[in-house]
């Protein structure tokens, strides 16, 4: 489970400008705008697309929260819901820090992106990566993609796009709070919130021990109350 991976890089950077140029007729920006001025472009139009792909976190909160074991980790290091086991408790929904997984009210089971588990089994790449005409979504082995993304980031910095950064690679934004790294990660040029990504997602499992300890402390601390009361001389019969 260490090296294999279904993984995506979504390169939002200059594709964004192409999208903007096609979407807006009133704008002063064009597809030929220099790469260093995405901010100006955003002010005038505002058309941004973000894939709601499951991040397939290394330490996946939904998987860790799932009480039935319906969510499992595949041989491709991706996270998939087994529909024949899920009982629709919905605990994975608030566990996901990215707002990806949800319950279907039609069949009462949790659903999310599987990174096309069936296609991967058949040796094909995920449909989104296959279909994307601009190669904004790329698929490959995680390590190799991370290398490619770092080179791309450095290249963009060199060209003056200093706002470019990686989201979800080890130690970077998005891979915080014990998530380690995201198997679907991003190359972005605006703050994470712009793309509806949390700045510092965390693992829900971090909070199991502290919250239980807090409850236990309270429980153990309670019996000291009546003792103090009796010393104070109050008499409740």
């Amino acid at each position: 489970m260490q090296s294999i991976a279904g993984t995506l890089v979504i390169a939002q950077e200059e594709r964004l400008q192409l999208l903007i140029a096609t979407a807006s007729d009133t704008s002063s920006c064009s597809a030929t705008a220099p790469p260093s001025s995405p901010i100006n472009c955003r002010r005038c139009c505002g058309w941004l697309m973000m894939s709601d792909v499951c991040k397939h976190c290394h330490n996946a909160p939904c998987l860790e929260a799932c009480p039935t074991g319906a969510l499992f980790r595949t041989e491709f290091d991706t996270v998939v819901v087994q529909q024949d086991i899920c009982n629709g408790c919905g605990y994975c929904v608030p566990a996901c820090p990215f707002g990806v997984v949800d319950i279907s009210l039609l069949d009462g089971k949790a659903h999310k992106c599987t990174l096309c588990y069936d296609r991967l089994k058949g040796g094909l790449e995920p449909a989104c990566a296959k279909a994307c005409p601009t190669d904004s979504i790329q698929f490959g082995e995680v390590g190799e993609l991370q290398e490619r993304a770092r080179r791309r980031e450095a290249e963009l910095h060199r060209r003056g796009v200093t706002s470019a950064y990686l989201y979800g690679t080890p130690g970077e934004a998005g891979a915080t709070g014990g998530l380690d790294h995201l198997n679907a990660f991003f190359l972005l040029t605006a703050p994470p919130e712009t793309y509806n990504l949390p700045r510092a997602p965390t693992r829900q499992a971090n909070r199991v021990a502290p919250s239980l300890a807090a409850g236990l402390t309270t429980l153990v601390g309670l019996p000291s109350q009546p003792a103090r009361c009796s010393r104070g001389g109050c008499n409740d019969g």
Binding site: R42, R43, G46, W47, L48, M50, P61, E64, A65, C66, P67, T68, G69, I85, C86, N87, G88, C89, G90, Y91, P94, A95, C96, P97, F98, G99, D102, I103, L105, D107, G108, K109, T162, S163, Y165, G171, A173, T176, E193, T194, Y195, N196, L197, P198, R199, A200, P201, T202, Q204, A205, R207, V208, P210, S211, L212, A213, A214, G215, T218, L219
Partner: protein, 372 residues
């Protein structure tokens, strides 16, 4: 927001859409269960303690406690099963034990509590009918594991809620546990000092300094929801008088500033080095050696009077020997839209172009997570 006027994309959020999905729980059912679990668990626990403490004297109360403890196993369990979106598969909860999932732990806890409580309640029922039965002794044994389960039932529901990514709920997980950030910070400062070389009065001053600044940072440290202690104070004191409200507002806007203390002998005035504002420091007795010195201080600006309250981090009482090491991470202001990011709290990288004279800000949450 009105549906008809969909927000134009303004670059700060993604079309105003929430980042998280709402938990698909039925509030009535899950709320009822949480209430019943706490009630039953506590009833069983108290009945057992009372039975041990007072024996026969509290027989009636113990009996009611044991019956009350049957609410969670019966009505509570029914609520939980009804809340499932595929209720006929409720037994899948018992496929495995997962310590990272409070819901898995809770399922097993509920099963254990239900079995032991049922046994205790049944024995109690029989004992009440056939007085003086030897079954009473058996009930007194069975009540112990039931009470343990009761203790678990009364506390685990808090974990169930806080072990999610819902901001308000996840912030509450840490409400009772000591904030390690403040402690870590005080320790870091104190470890830099050569305690033995300091006089006693100097040492006390340094300790007071470290404590003050750590406390102050903790108060201004945003919780997972993004709200600081001052924000919560403001929310809870909506009916405060105008003067108090102004003070709370000023506290919320307190920021680190780089000040230069004036050289005048009589009036203590400081100048904000960046903005050039003259600020008057209220109620501070400055030692003479800081005149003319630059200092970092977290200052509270009172808008109405134009006077700065006492600088909260009394940095200047530290030993004025050599260069005082400045921890960059400690003296950067928090911002939800920062222009710096860091991996370790030591090295900082800008995330976007910074204007000349612009302030460098960080998001405390991003590297605070490392400590938590």
């Amino acid at each position: 927001m009105d549906k008809s006027e969909q927000p134009a994309w303004d670059g700060r959020t993604y079309y105003g859409k929430p980042q998280l999905r709402a938990a698909p729980f039925n509030i009535g059912l899950v709320g009822s269960y949480i209430f019943l679990a706490g009630l039953s668990g506590a009833a069983q626990l108290l009945a057992t303690l009372l039975d041990v403490a007072q024996g026969r004297g509290a027989e009636a109360t113990v009996r009611r406690g044991r019956y009350l403890a049957m609410l969670a196993p019966t009505v509570g369990t029914l609520c939980l099963i009804l809340d499932l979106h595929t209720p006929n598969r409720f037994y899948n909860m018992l496929r495995l034990v997962k310590t990272t999932s409070p819901m898995s732990l809770g399922s097993w806890g509920l099963i254990g509590f239900s079995i032991m409580s049922s046994v205790t309640a049944a024995l109690q029922f029989v004992t009440t009918r056939l007085s003086g039965s030897w079954l009473r002794g058996l009930a007194r044994i069975a009540q112990w594991p039931a009470a343990l389960g009761g203790g678990f039932m009364s506390i685990y529901t808090a974990s169930l809620l806080s072990a999610t990514s819902t901001p308000t709920l996840m912030a509450s997980a840490r409400q009772f546990v000591p904030h390690d950030r403040g402690e870590a910070m005080s320790r870091k400062w104190l470890s830099r000092l050569d305690i033995h070389a300091l006089g006693e009065d100097r040492m006390v001053a340094v300790m007071a300094d470290a404590t003050l600044l750590a406390t102050d940072l903790l108060l201004s440290y945003p919780a997972a929801s993004g709200a600081t202690a001052f924000d919560r104070l403001a929310r809870s004191s909506a009916a405060a008088s105008a003067a108090e409200a102004a003070l709370i507002t000023a506290l919320r806007q307190a920021r680190f500033r780089l000040l230069r203390v004036s050289c005048d002998a009589d009036a203590v005035t400081a100048y904000d080095i960046l903005s050039g504002d003259a600020v008057q420091i209220v109620g501070a007795a400055l030692p003479s050696q800081v005149r003319g010195a630059a200092l970092f201080a977290r200052v509270v600006m009172m808008a109405t009077t134009g006077v700065v309250c006492r600088a909260r981090s009394r940095r200047w009482t530290r030993q004025p020997v050599g260069l005082n090491i400045i921890d960059l991470d400690t003296y950067l202001n928090h911002s939800p839209h920062p222009n710096l990011r860091t991996k370790d709290g030591v090295r900082f990288v800008t995330t976007r172009r910074v204007q000349e004279d612009g302030e460098l800000t960080v998001n405390y949450q991003t590297y605070g997570a490392r400590l938590c």
